[in-house]
Amino acid sequence: MPIRDQGYQRYRGDRMQRGRAWWVIARTGIIERLHRRRFLALLLFAWSPFVVHAVQLYLGATIVRAAFLAATEDTFHTFLTQQRLFVFFITIYAGAGLIASDRQSNALQIYLSKPITRHDYIGGKMLTLAIFLVAVTWVPAMMLLLLQFLFSGSLEFFLSHPRLVPAITLASMLQVALAVMTMVALSSLSRSRRFAAMLYAGLVIFAAALERVLETATGSPAWILISPQNTLLLVTDAIFGEPPEKAALLALAVAALAGVLAACALVLERRVRAVDVVA
């Protein structure tokens, strides 16, 4: 039986095409988080509104006396609005350490000394969080739509609400994009995942509270623009075709969200570097 040489051997196998590192990073991040039981429990719990709505759709479609429970566009709008709470917790749990932990352990210079770009790295980190958020927003919303079709046994609901699928998709993606960009940008500002989590929670909660106070004090609805979450709510209302209370602010709200996303992109551009240059 030959003795196996455990010394260094030259590698003679295949190499992958470049440009797939973002997926390697995302896949590893997803698997690592799925190994945490508490996170799995949170993910499962985030599907509890789906179960409630599924029962509602079943009753509305099959029992005549419960017809008031039948699906409307508002059912899906309400569902996505309810999921904001889970989006908040999952973003903090799965997102706070995405870059902060790497900065703490100097992993950025390991990553960026490999044949990957900063965009691969940031993209992989964002995708890690985005997958989980899509799994608790867009996926259950579309499954509710599917259940509505199965329970009612006809395409009538789809045909009478042609914009529902694009609206669910657009609203979900906006919700996910805002959470992912904000959390990843805040994570890149710190070497501590706890501090990054506090920054995010502070931004969401403090901005909303401040908006309430200022709106009450001045009577101006324009203060909604200082809270990204409430601004998103206003835009989501418009996406689902519901007349927003503050329709005049819609264009400003869209611009404000775009501004937040651009600011996050700028932060990431400046913070994700293998070498911190202090001039």
Binding site: Y11, V24, P115, V275, V278
Partner: protein
Amino acid sequence: MTRSDGSDRVDRVDAPVVLEHVTVKYGRHEALRDVSVEFPNGAIGLLGPNGAGKSTLIKTLLGLLPPANGRMRVLGCDVNESPLAVRARVGYVPESDAHIPGMTAVSFVAYCGELAGLPRANAMQRAHEVLFYVGLGEARYRNVETYSTGMKQRIKLAQALVHDPELLFLDEPTNGMDPKGRDEMLALVRDIATTKGITLILSSHLLPDVEFACDHVVVLHKGAVAAQGPIAALKRASGRVFELRVKGDEPRFAEAVRAEGLECHGEAGDVMRVYVPEDRSSQLLFQLAARHDVQVRHLRASVPSLEDVFARALGEEA
């Protein structure tokens, strides 16, 4: 870049790393000043005191820092134009403690292999092999965060080797290691360069490390190349070195020696090292001693060391 059997590996070039008039700035501060140097194949030591620009040079060669001026070629590729192609073929052992959190050693090294372009299964197989090679085979299922300093240095080497680079940059790889671990690490470094055919650039301020592991040396000082060449040749160029101890006015004697055009290093009360060029005689030292009324208590011809080369290159009191 698909390589099925390694046969399309680019032929070893004479100078795998070439810098031409490279200047790197941090704001207004010039970390590298118009550096032009060629690194040959083999093990090359990058020497210099703290702040000399060693780490900056390595990071610039990896494409992590853009130069303000100049061109760099690594393994035949222009670093400015194709940094990813360069990084696919080199390995980097960073100076500071660096790992990816929450991973076992084997997962970490396999992950690095995947990032460098190896298929998943191959990366895992390579990770096991490389971890055995660097001496972490028995500890490969432990979380990297539980490793000692020496083990962390080894795993940094493993992640740099997993994709089988043609060129390896090692930035202070023996930092924080105990003497035994340091010897083992240097033996690994030497083995990589001599028997595995991987060119390596070893950055260090520890002269014995470089002298043990390397054949060539590039000395950086204040962002510029102060000396370069084969260590043996640089030592020969030092002429003869004498260890000298005198009784009397040492500072005045040292000044007199320097006034004669000889280099003299050493602190008062300690052994002085005097460099006597080939065309001068050691008798001159006795004549100077007599002239300045000091007694020569000890005079011994010494073997020129890398420390002498370093001291002469830097032109400082050693």
